[in-house]
Amino acid sequence: MATITDPPSEGFRLSQLIYDTRYRSLTIQVVASIFIMLGIAFLFMNVVTNLQALGKDFDFGFLGNRAGYDINQRLIEYSNNSTHGRAAMVGILNTLLVAFLGCIVATVLGIFAGVMRLSKNWLVAKLMAVYVEGFRNIPLLLWILVIFAVMTESAPQPRDFRGEDASASMILFDSVAVTNRGIFVPAPIWGPNSGILVAVFLLSLVAIWAFRRYAHKRQEETGEILPVFWISLGLFFVPSILAYFVLGQPVSLRYPELAGFNFEGGIQLRNSLIALWFALSLYTGAFIAEIVRAGILAISKGQTEAAYALGLRPNRTMSLVILPQALRVIIPPLISQYLNLTKNSSLAIAVGYMDVRSTLGGITINQTGRELEGMLLLGCFYLATSLIISGAMNVYNNSVKLKER
């Protein structure tokens, strides 16, 4: 016999919000979010009041006004009659340029140094340790300034190239001039038919990719290994060189020449770009080296031994067994190194490289007095760039990560 007792029909009491575990976490969250919102509202009101006290409004109209200043390194058309918005675009492209170049060199350097540091050769391993510890433990700004100062002080002035008894001369068959204003390299001149040449080159890249797929598939099916490297190398060079001569040499080089105050006619890689690029690459490369080393060490020795037992040679063991597994350890921290490099490029101001921090965040703000708007835009740009980089790298990470079946 069971007596059914009614569940105590108690109403909701206010104290339950604190003492009843069913509601407590909810209460805490509601109270916390109220405080956070109050805090945000306070900050917002603070900005509004202070702007009012300063007699300023919040307006992005300045982006459409004439900038009035010149920028030395421009990847797009720009003059002092262009707008502040255009100047910001020039800066953004300069930031992206140095970040892109920096990421590539840092990755190459990092992988090289990371693998070499594990070498059994004592000298090589120690040299790499010196590189990694040296660059990792000294502030980036110092490296930027050191490289810039060395290039400015030790390289000859353009003037030194002039005259009969010039104290400096161009290198590489008179095609490259290293000066204290930057390195001048020949510029390509795209003649008629050069479009076809580019198309041939792109097609040969596609051919390399297709061939590699084919070779991989064939190896899976028959076990036969094709000389992939040599054929790829041939595909890379032969069609383009053939096309170059068949089309009658459509692309020629324009060598830099001393004219007036400076070299003209070539492409100028400014000291500021080179200093920033190399300092960022060397610094971030040292971190990437450690990430690569950690990734390789994370793969147990048993994997190598098993591969050897199957008769794989050491380089194939590395490329087929170790690296694919190491990559999934390497990629996630590598993403944050790329983000670091991109954000660190804002140190460009130290050497006068005209990145977005120097144009929009520097001169434009200074000329227009729009600190708040400028800094917000700058923040949004870096945020967006970082999110795009990590998004793209996450896609890659998903393709190499351990597939769970």
Binding site: N46, A53, L54, N262, S358
Partner: protein, 338 residues
Amino acid sequence: MKKSVFYGTLAVAAVAAGTLSAQTLAEVQERGSLNCGVSTGLTGFAAPDASGEWQGFDVAMCRAVAAAVLGDAMAVEFVPTTGQTRFTALASGEIDMLARNTTWTFSRDVDLGFEFVGVNYYDGQGFMVPRDLGVSSAMELDGATVCIQTGTTTELNLADFFSSNGMSYEPVPIETNAEAQQQYLAGACDVYTTDASGLAATRATFEDPSAHVILPEIISKEPLGPLVRHGDNQWGDIVRWTLNGLVSAEELGITSANVAELATGTDNPEINRMLGTEGEYGAMLGLDGDWMVRVISSVGNYGEIFEGNIGENTPIGLARGLNAQWTDGGLLYSPPFR
């Protein structure tokens, strides 16, 4: 107050909280020192000497204001600012006044919300080149690489000058005068451009000043003067009339040597009004009657400041030129103390 500073900094550094309205005088007196923005180092205008003490033409302006409001010309906290940081420093209240070779322009006065209290140096933008470059006129500079301090009016003048003369150039933006000097001497730029007074001051510090020439062209008007924030008229008046007092003192022959004697009373009513023996001019500014006596006895009059820091007997060797009294054919013309 502490709390509001904390939250304000959190909000946006550029609009840091703090009292931005009409209390600068009270704040300075309570603090016991004047926060004065100067350049990061330009010999003759503002630079620390061998013993680390700031010296120069702009520094004297800061000291004069400190003498007026605090009674002690040494009670100045110097804040070195670059061309890019100076306006933010002033707008946010980090400094009470800015005396840093700053050009008085419409947009700075009106749009940026500052108040230029006057002109303490009439200048213009010039060019300096190494003598062995063989250039004798700015019109021959087509294609040259030019070092400029970024965030200044010189940057804009330069762009206008080259484009209106159909010439091209390569700008090398640089943060401070010291860096510009290093780049210029290393030959990383052919030309250094800034205000002519700054060029003379920079050249004076070179190992061999005679190896560099300042080109004859002056491409702009650069009236340099001290400035304060908009909105505190009392403080603006104090700085303005300290400057006017320095100029008037030279005109009236009041020097640091004779000011004590003149302060006992003279036959000239204007001197008496300035030095506080007649009328209540100091009290109208919120100061005491001796304010101008302290200013002149500690830093001298305009002419003494000029000769002591940048005049013809100093290594910088600038002539008075436009900066002579109006009675001597210059532009210095102080409104009367009346």
